[in-house]
């Protein structure tokens, strides 16, 4: 929901409530005022008629409304004295409207020479439903007009007042950790936005610092591990030459395997941090077809051992301008992956097109977790000795060279596609 719609939602709801309450109060106070004035008029009229009746007996014979707005009827003294002035609402049939219209009626008593009379005076009244209707439409118009004005002012305000905010959003969207120093300078006058900008700048600089420190740490740690690893591996190999006992040899072999796994892990981490630090900047034209033919040759033994058939389908020649070491790392990782995560009697197909390279392999019959597939230390199956870094390296190389790497599970095969 946009800022504009969000504010409007609250404004429109509160406006409806306020305007409705206001309309109700306004309606009743109007009505009260109307009654007040009508009753005053009737009172005045009553006094005039009584006054006239004292002098003009004809008034006393006015016994029905007819053309006048009053009528007089004689009553007994007792009932006259018991009656007080009484106002009420009534209706009367009007000829012009051909309908019953509301009227205000005053009933009172008076005496002329000890004869008592009852006087009924009427006055045509405002039609309540018309008033309500008029009021309703007036309020609807007011509401629409207010909303319109608010929308327009708001849109204008959003453009003017919030412009630094939107600019900041755009720059934050384009921001990449480890690549950009910050979101740049901005001319901000509003205090809150100034604070936001300062907070964003601080957050970015501390994140960048942490990111760089982490990168340096990984690289240093990996380097520092090389020498102790070398000592461990070499001493163990020398020890194995002195040992005859098969049980001891077996144990040495197992320890050696673990050290070598550590070595592979370490080397992969170094590769990753080197790729991320852009230390592979020498590029050349790499013939992907030739490269893969070499790899297929190297991997034949591994594939045969795993009982996996390797097929290469060359649709076209593919030449990519990139670093050769990275090209080798990229393709061997994907090929090795396709061979190892396979089933006995399975197939690996390598399909080369002008601008794409595809690895299709049989394997476990379900899709891999795409969201975690390229993350470090992701292991789809419990493959002992696997570093879980192969696909992160692939991803890092693809990102570095601006290639597209995609995975999909189709027809019971795992398909990795590289687009150059």
């Amino acid at each position: 929901m946009s800022l504009l719609r969000y504010t409007l939602r609250y404004l429109s709801i509160s406006l409806i409530v306020v305007l409705t309450i206001w309309a109700a109060i306004f309606y009743f106070s109007m009505l009260d005022e109307v009654y007040d004035s009508l009753d005053d008029g009737l009172e005045n009229y009553k006094l005039l008629i009584i006054d006239r009746a004292q002098r003009d007996p004809a008034v006393l014979h006015h016994t029905s409304f007819q053309e006048g707005n009053y009528y007089v009827e004689p009553i007994s003294k007792e009932s006259a004295l018991a009656t007080k002035d009484f106002y009420r609402d009534s209706t009367i049939y009007t000829i012009n409207e051909k309908d019953f219209e509301p009227v205000r009626v005053l009933t009172t008593t008076f005496d002329v020479d000890d004869h008592y009379y009852k006087l009924t005076v009427m006055s045509s009244m405002v039609e309540e439903d018309d008033l309500i209707e008029d009021l309703f439409f007036a309020i609807v118009w007011l509401y629409v007009l207010l909303l319109l004005v608010i929308i327009l002012t708001h849109q204008y305000m959003l453009k003017i007042v919030w412009s630094p905010f939107f600019k900041m959003i755009d720059r934050l969207k384009a921001f990449r950790l480890g690549h950009d120093d910050g979101i740049g300078e901005m001319n901000v006058r509003v205090r809150e936005f100034k604070q936001l900008k300062q907070s964003v700048d601080m957050l970015i600089s501390s994140s960048n610092e942490a990111y760089h420190q982490q990168k340096v740490f990984i690289e240093n740690a990996a380097h520092e591990l090389q020498t102790p690893l070398a000592i461990g591996i070499n001493k163990l190999e020398l020890l194995a030459e002195r040992i005859e006992d098969e049980d001891v040899l077996m144990t040495i072999g197992q320890v050696n395997e673990e050290l070598l796994r550590l070595k592979r892990l370490n080397r992969s981490l170094l590769h990753l941090s080197k790729i991320e630090n852009s230390q592979f900047d020498e590029v050349e034209d790499v013939n992907i077809n030739e490269l893969l033919k070499e790899h297929l040759d190297d991997f034949t033994a591994l594939a045969e051992f795993n009982e996996v058939e390797l097929r290469m389908i060359e649709h076209e020649e593919c030449v990519v301008r990139m670093n050769l070491d990275l090209a080798k790392m990229l393709t061997t990782n994907l090929l090795k992956n396709a061979i190892i995560h396979n089933v006995k009697g399975g197939v690996v197909e390598v399909i080369i097109d002008r601008y794409s390279l595809q690895f299709i392999n049989t394997g476990v019959g379900e899709s891999l977790d795409v969201s975690r597939l390229f993350k470090r230390f992701y292991k789809g199956d419990n493959n002992v000795g696997n570093t879980g870094l192969g696909l992160s390296i692939v991803k890092a190389i693809a990102a570095y060279c601006k290639f597209e790497i995609g995975y999909r599970f189709l027809n019971n095969t795992h398909q990795f596609t590289l687009r150059f």
Partner: protein, 225 residues
């Protein structure tokens, strides 16, 4: 053959020394830059193993000193840094090879022998072991005068064994050497077994007097029957 180990880490130095002594080299050690500099000015070495990061200076500077002296020692750089720059600088300054730590003993053996041979023979070179003759240049193998038909990877394996004859060769080291650097990402080197089985069968069928022995849990050893 006289070899100088220039390495500041005492444990690694002693491991290298132990291995080189098994190959019957005369081994000397230097732990610092000045120590190393003094030794290469005073003595002649056939091969120098050179660490880049040394107390007292950069090992690559020693290469320049060697050049100034006009000495023809073979130099193998052993570095913890897998840095292309260092590698190119080192090789440009006259080093013969560059090995990144950690490495296998057998890989180092193979590299030392290869550079020593290259600098000693210049040309066709045939290795004799038992009744097996291996021509490294044209990649021909003969057993008792009859040529043996080997798959390229089998030849590489045999050659690697010969460079480490009567020494333990771990299957990882073999896989890395023969199937390339990138195979080290593979999580399983069991496939090496089936390859070696083929090589063994071919040697046996040709009645070779050498044998690829299995070293339980570790790898192989090439020995005379």
């Amino acid at each position: 053959m006289k070899v100088l180990i220039i390495e500041d880490e005492p444990q690694l130095r002693s491991a290298l020394k132990e291995s080189l002594l098994k190959e019957h080299y005369v081994v000397e050690e230097a732990a610092t830059y000045s120590d190393a500099s003094q030794k290469i000015w005073s003595y002649e070495y056939d091969c120098i193993l050179l660490d880049v990061m040394l107390p007292g200076g950069n090992g690559l500077k020693l290469l320049e000193e060697l050049k100034q002296m006009g000495k023809r020692s073979s130099v193998i750089i052993i570095s913890a840094k897998d840095s292309l720059d260092d590698k190119l600088t080192g090789l440009g300054l006259g080093a013969d090879d560059y090995l990144t730590k950690p490495f296998h003993i057998s890989e180092l053996n193979a590299r030392i022998k290869t550079v020593l041979r290259r600098n000693t023979y210049d040309g066709d070179e045939v290795i004799h072991y038992g009744n097996v003759q291996v021509n490294v240049t044209n990649r021909q193998v003969q057993v008792q005068g009859y040529s043996l038909d080997l798959h390229p990877k089998e030849f590489d394996s045999l050659n690697y064994f010969l460079l480490n004859k009567e020494r333990l060769v771990s299957k990882t080291s073999l896989a890395e050497h023969v199937w390339g650097d990138y195979v080290d990402q593979a999580n399983d080197f069991e496939f090496v077994y089936s390859q070696i089985k083929n090589l063994r069968k071919k040697l046996r069928d040709a009645k070779a007097s050498v044998e690829v022995q299995s070293v339980y849990g570790m790898g192989y050893k090439l020995t005379l029957q």
